[in-house]
């Protein structure tokens, strides 16, 4: 399907497998710097990390013996570490559901108003911020002062209106993980909203007209027409969120540093590596993180292969 870009250049899609005259050996010169960097910064260190994760390493970085699967056993049996894994799962489920769900609902809603662009920009601004800045912004929402004092955090002041005692949002273990997830949701809902909104606009006129002719109301329109039509885009957005959330680090590091049972895999990796100077344990966390992401990687490669018609 050929499309016209905004600049007016007609972009004909090339044949799936371009036939090229002869092998150009100079191609290696063009790809060499990239391959060198990928080799040195991805492939070689990945192998190194897997090896290190099976070793005992002292605080100076010297290998002091073979650990086997010791670190992995610790990760999957020790209660503190199990909580870390549970937190990642909580992040994954709640964070993904909220960013994609809210993004979809807001995309459908803004589709119906005239001030669409302004609303979209407003929701999108947090995307431009760093997790560090977002952390500071939310710190001011969450500030806790003991009951009876003047609450200077908006959330606790709001609770005060209803005579509900103030909460220490980052300390109270019933809510602290959700308080952190909320920051992520605030930052990334705009992302899914913008993409899903673009997909909604791509639904062909004929389909909308046909549904209208069949007497579809707004409800059936949403569930039977919009959702199925933009399902592939929902998948892409969900995959992006899953990858992002599995790797989540900055939000936790800046706000709680993983204290009060809010740690996640990437935070545990950092703690072991730098706070405890335990390279072996840290590496094992990194390998676990990669293994968790592996299924997403496979899905992604399949999708791109199919899309691009590569072997």
């Amino acid at each position: 399907m050929a499309t016209i870009s905004q600049e007016g250049v007609s972009l004909a899609v090339p044949p799936r497998r371009r036939r090229m005259e002869g092998i150009s050996w100079s191609a290696w010169i063009w790809v060499a710097p990239a391959l060198l960097l990928i080799g040195v910064f991805y492939i070689w260190p990945m192998i190194g990390t897997i090896v290190t994760s099976l070793e005992n390493v002292d605080t100076l970085g010297n290998v002091t013996g073979f650990a086997g699967l010791k670190w992995y056993k610790t990760i999957f049996t020790d209660p503190t570490n199990l909580i870390i894994l549970r937190n990642n799962l909580l992040w994954l489920v709640v964070g993904t559901a909220l960013t994609v769900g809210l993004g979809l609902i807001i995309a459908v809603l803004v589709d119906r108003v005239k001030i669409e662009r302004v609303i979209k920009s407003t929701l999108f601004i947090p995307m431009a911020l760093s997790f560090v800045a977002a952390g500071v912004i939310w710190r001011f929402m969450y500030i806790y002062r003991p009951a009876g004092e003047n609450q200077i955090g908006l959330l606790n002041a709001f609770l005060g209106l209803f005579r509900i005692p103030p909460q220490a949002w980052f300390v109270n273990e019933a809510v602290n993980n959700f308080a952190l997830i909320a920051i992520y949701v605030w930052m990334w809902t705009g992302f899914s909203m913008v993409i899903l909104s673009a997909a909604l606009k791509g639904i062909p006129d004929e389909i909308i007209e046909a549904a209208k002719m069949d007497g579809a109301n707004r409800f059936t329109m949403f569930w039977r027409v919009m959702i199925p039509m933009i399902a592939p885009t929902i998948t892409v957005v969900t995959i992006t969120m899953v990858i992002n959330i599995l790797k989540i680090f900055d939000v936790v590091y800046v706000n709680t540093g993983g204290a009060f049972n809010t740690s996640v895999i990437a935070q545990a990796f950092y703690d072991q590596l730098f706070t405890n100077q335990n390279g072996g344990f840290g590496s094992a966390w990194a390998v676990v993180l990669t293994l968790v992401i592996l299924p997403v990687l496979i899905i992604n490669i399949r999708r791109i292969r199919a899309e691009e018609g590569l072997r």
């Binding site: 063009w30 790809v31 791509g202 790797k247």
Partner: protein
């Protein structure tokens, strides 16, 4: 994928589902017209409320950053909105002069500019070869690089850090440049290869027939035609490097005088705990440039995000 970029980008200006539906269902009776108006205005109110809710956290910090320190720690920012107004630039002064945030801003620039240009240069070389040259293992290597899109950088950090420490690279600007270049490459190659390979084949072939060298084709043909993709990529990479904490933390960790804004703010959070007045201004200084870039180049930014929706 580049097909999708242009397609999705053009949809930005496309008609909404509602507009298209509306053309079909024009309210006829006064009652229907009333319901219609009520529906659309209540939806408008709803989305405006959502947008306001979304803005409150940032707005609150913005207001707080201009309040005197003793007021910040005693009353909520909203009480600063009613007269008597007592706004001040004290916090900004304290952060820039006392906390070295001017230097941190400069450090962020020193890190982010090469951290944006280098991966685009190296990535566009490779993308050109992947799109228009034939060589053994081409598709395999491309898929291998694309696979790296989702690989968490954590898996690579320990050996790289060990290597960099051994050869004395840590705490240097260029260690961060190299790392950002390497980590930015998979996305750059993925995005650019797709855009390059969608360029008109006849144009490139006729340039070849006219005897143009690969370099000339790359420099005089491919790059000028790919400005939209390069712009999106540049903005994305710039934001990514500017907002990065982990790489700076690990490779510049010890060198305070070279710390970028994110690291400087994170350190402030750690060391002051309750020193809220400094944090407010510090956070806003770190946000200033990304916000300017965002508002000035929103179209490219959104396009980059639409194109790069597989990046982690």
């Amino acid at each position: 994928m580049s097909r999708q970029i242009t397609e999705l980008a053009s949809r930005e200006k496309a008609k909404s589902v509602t507009e298209r539906l509306g053309a079909l269902e024009r309210p006829r009776t006064p009652w229907e017209r009333f319901i219609h108006a009520f529906n659309s205005s209540s939806v408008t109110i709803l989305v405006v409320v959502i947008a306001l809710l979304w803005s409150i956290p940032t707005f609150g910090l913005f207001v707080a950053s201009f309040r005197p320190p003793q007021l910040i720690s005693s009353t909520g920012w909203w009480s600063g909105l009613v007269p008597p107004w007592r706004f001040t630039l004290e916090n900004y002064q304290a952060v820039i002069q006392g906390q070295g945030f001017g230097m941190a801003f400069l450090n962020s620039l020193i890190i982010a500019i090469p951290g944006t240009i280098l991966p685009i240069a190296v990535g566009s070389f490779a993308a050109y070869a992947f799109a228009w040259m034939k060589f053994p293992f081409r598709n395999f290597l491309f898929l291998l690089i694309v696979a790296m899109l989702v690989i968490p950088s954590q898996i690579a950090l320990v050996p790289i850090l060990t290597l960099f420490t051994a050869i004395g690279f840590t705490g240097q600007y260029w260690s961060v440049w190299i790392v950002h270049t390497a980590f930015g490459l998979p996305f750059a190659i993925f995005l650019l290869r797709n855009f390059f390979s969608a360029l008109p084949r006849d144009l490139i072939e006729s340039a070849h027939i006219d005897g143009a060298s690969s370099w000339r084709i790359y420099w005089n043909l491919i790059l000028p035609l790919s400005v939209p993709a390069l712009a999106s990529l540049a903005i994305f990479q710039f934001m990514w490097v500017w907002n990065d904490l982990l790489v700076a933390l690990i490779f510049l960790g010890g060198a305070v005088e070279k710390a970028p804004l994110t690291l400087a703010v994170a350190n402030l959070v750690g060391s002051y705990g309750e020193g809220y007045q400094l944090l407010t201004a510090a956070a806003f200084i770190s946000m200033a440039l990304p916000l300017v870039v965002f508002f000035a180049l929103q179209r490219y930014f959104i396009r980059g995000i639409l194109a790069g929706s597989v990046k982690g």
